[in-house]
């Protein structure tokens, strides 16, 4: 307590230090060099009532699709530079290409293309929150439907 009363300069120094940390952290966030993109391939079907434990964190998102069972097929994470592209192999002979476009106000704009046998199925540009995701689903697979969770985060 004596220190608090006799060292106002220490208080000022501590405040400046905290502000610098905040500024440094903020600056680091504003200038990310690349994006980590994660694609989760999931099989949604109505043949059983199984829910894959690996998908626990996505339970609420997936159950909203109203299928009875969900099974994780493949998880893949790649680092993609801004304006660069990266392709992910998707079960069923498909390919997902992701190109991060822009980072603004902690949101990431992604250009996404899903192709099957070299034919484009869908092209879309989606802006998601940093560390957030969106779902792209519907292509048939193994008696059910393929569900892709596409997420992106700055390191």
């Amino acid at each position: 307590m004596k220190l608090l009363k006799t060292r106002p300069s220490l208080v000022l120094l501590f405040s400046l230090l905290l502000v610098s940390i905040a500024g440094w952290g903020g600056a680091a966030e504003k200038d990310p060099q690349s994006v980590q993109v994660t694609i989760r391939s999931i099989l949604a079907a109505n043949k059983s009532d199984e829910f894959d434990a690996k998908l626990k964190g996505m339970e609420q998102q997936l159950k909203s699709l109203k299928y009875r069972s969900y099974r994780s097929l493949k998880d893949e994470t790649k680092t993609v530079p801004w304006q660069g592209t990266q392709s992910f192999e998707i079960p069923g002979g498909r390919l997902l290409t992701v190109a991060p476009q822009e980072f603004q106000e902690n949101r990431i704009a992604l250009k996404v293309r899903l192709t099957e046998k070299d034919k484009p199925i869908v092209d879309t540009t989606v802006t998601i929150p940093n560390k957030g995701n969106f779902i792209l689903g519907g292509p048939p697979h193994e008696g059910g439907a393929l569900v892709l969770s596409i997420s992106a985060a700055t390191p």
Partner: protein
């Protein structure tokens, strides 16, 4: 046997007003002199000195003996005096003349050690120079010069480090020296 300050404080905390009266009798003159040194006005200094002991009475239960009683009471007095200085609107030179008049009429003025013109001029310039110091610089000058307090005690009273006391004293004395070099 005379009780120590701390023993008197404990008696006050137990509700004995006579113990507080004893503490006031021990320190009222010193507190008044410090206030007078800071405010340069007798009425204000008396007011501040009484207010100091009033506030000390109200806060007596919060005194835990972390410092000596006299540094604690001086801290209260200096803080009130600094606040009062900031509110003071009177011209110090004009007021000093009227203060002398009041003292003389009450026959309370001490024997003036400055008898010749040179000393009178030094006194006037010194008063002006002291009043031009900030309240914080005036406080270190008064506490050191009037009370002969150590830098450590002054630091405890003003809530600053010994280094700060040293640099404030150096600055204040340099300012006074520069203004009064002709007379020194």
């Amino acid at each position: 046997m005379e009780l120590s300050d701390w023993e008197l404080v404990k008696q006050c905390q137990a509700g004995e007003t006579s113990a507080f009266q004893e503490l006031v009798s021990r320190y009222h003159q010193k507190v008044f002199m410090v206030s007078l040194g800071l405010l340069r006005n007798r009425e204000d200094a008396l007011d501040v000195a009484q207010e100091t002991f009033f506030r000390a009475y109200r806060k007596i239960n919060s005194f835990q003996g972390d410092s000596s009683f006299y540094t604690w009471i001086y801290r209260i007095a200096v803080n009130i005096s600094i606040d009062a200085q900031r509110r003071q609107k009177r011209n110090p030179l004009e007021f000093r003349e009227s203060m002398d008049g009041v003292l003389e009429s009450q026959n309370e003025v001490a024997k003036d050690p400055f008898t010749d013109a040179h000393d009178r001029e030094l006194r006037e310039h010194l008063t002006q120079a002291i009043n031009e110091l900030t309240p914080e610089h005036k406080a270190v000058i008064v506490l050191r010069t009037l009370e002969g307090m150590s830098y450590k005690d002054i630091g405890q009273i003003l809530g600053c480090s010994e280094g700060t006391v040293m640099s404030r004293l150096h600055y204040a004395r340099k300012k006074l020296q520069d203004k009064l070099s002709v007379f020194l």
